[in-house]
Symmetry: C2
Subunit: 229 residues, 2 copies
């Protein structure tokens, strides 16, 4: 039975969830195939079987796992013969803080920069849900946030400082080779790349170079998904 | 020959460098003794032998190592029989991002909150250097920063979010047991604790509970140094 991932989908089949991108990269790292099923914000009924209201959801034989972090840990402990996602026994625990930073700091910082672009690139049926949920989350209208974009881009630049410092000292967040610490962060940049024509990084930033290398991983898996224009 | 650490010292022998605290905890973790030599901001000539202008500097037989991160890696690779500071082969690389966050985000966020208190707790001979260097770094007078403290305390609270998320999910930053990822962050809180009467954490914060547990480590090593009053 083919492994399946429920994958957030916008208009024109754009696959733009930062969380689903983590799972896509983790599966590629483990050299595991999967079918990525297009799922839209308003298709709650299609996820009911999983007990989760959000994607990614991985269906692997009889196993149903949701949440990108839990999926990564499932893959790590189930497919022990593949390359390690965390590197070493305590690797998952040591990756936790980096993952928490990506979720708590990077996701909202990037969201503020690209949120207006998302609205334009999701299907009409999903737009009302998206607008209402995001305007509630951020306490501003999408149009107000788009107006403030220069301020948000500057704030993102500041927030990226620890990543920049880390990548000045080693090639990958995980060290000598990319691993889940990298995918956890890369998912957020790939989300921005496929959904927004705004480039959030300048070419002299070590984070830019690292993102380019991430796009080259697994025979250019990330790059095969077009950047928004 | 006794191992020695050059350790930043204020008035009344207060030992308040976040970086020196990392080294103190790392040595205790490795079960290694050391003599901590009081060093003051204006005693540059005493460090000349090391090639470093800042502490900690570790002298271990013929080895002279400066910079808290380099010292931790030196201890890890030199004293392989003691408990690991990083946990596993790739542990140091996986700890790098957490360490970079502590340096790039946490240190300046805490500094803004406690900077006025530091001036009052260092020796007279060091005050002119401290004022000039810090006012240049932050672009504000120490008095202006003290006035803005409520804003800085709020900003620190926000900056702590990834640490809070991490500690809601596992007991220590490094996972099931404390390791260098914890010491790297703890050093910054211990600095604040010994130099400022302001408590920066509320008791319901998971970071507060974690700091209490850190103070208990190694028979209460951190707690043996009095909190500022």
């Amino acid at each position: 039975m083919t492994r399946q991932v429920y994958d957030l989908c916008g208009a024109n089949d754009v696959r733009f969830s930062p969380y689903c991108w983590r799972t896509r990269m983790a599966l590629a790292h483990k050299q595991l195939d999967a079918e990525f099923l297009a799922w839209h914000f308003t298709e709650q009924e299609k996820l009911k079987f999983s007990g989760s209201r959000t994607v990614p959801v991985l269906v692997d034989g009889d196993e149903v796992i949701s949440d990108s972090w839990r999926i990564a840990n499932y893959l790590e402990t189930t497919y022990t013969e593949g390359p390690s996602l965390f590197g070493g026994e305590r690797g998952a625990e040591l990756t936790r803080f980096t993952h928490a930073w990506a979720d708590a700091i990077l996701v909202p910082a990037v969201a503020r920069c690209v949120i207006g672009d998302i609205l334009e690139r999701i299907e009409l049926k999903d737009q009302a849900y998206f607008r209402a949920s995001r305007e509630e989350r951020f306490g501003l209208s999408l149009e107000q946030m788009t107006e403030r974009r220069p301020v948000y881009v500057q704030a993102l630049d500041t927030a990226l400082l620890p990543l920049r410092v880390c990548l000045r000292r080693q090639s990958w967040v995980a060290g000598e080779a990319p691993a889940y610490a990298d995918y956890s962060i890369f998912g957020v940049f790939q989300w921005a790349r496929v959904i927004s024509p705004e480039d959030l990084l300048t070419t002299e930033d070590p984070v830019f170079e690292w993102r380019e290398k991430m796009l080259d991983q697994f025979d250019g898996l990330g790059r095969r998904f077009a950047a928004a224009s």
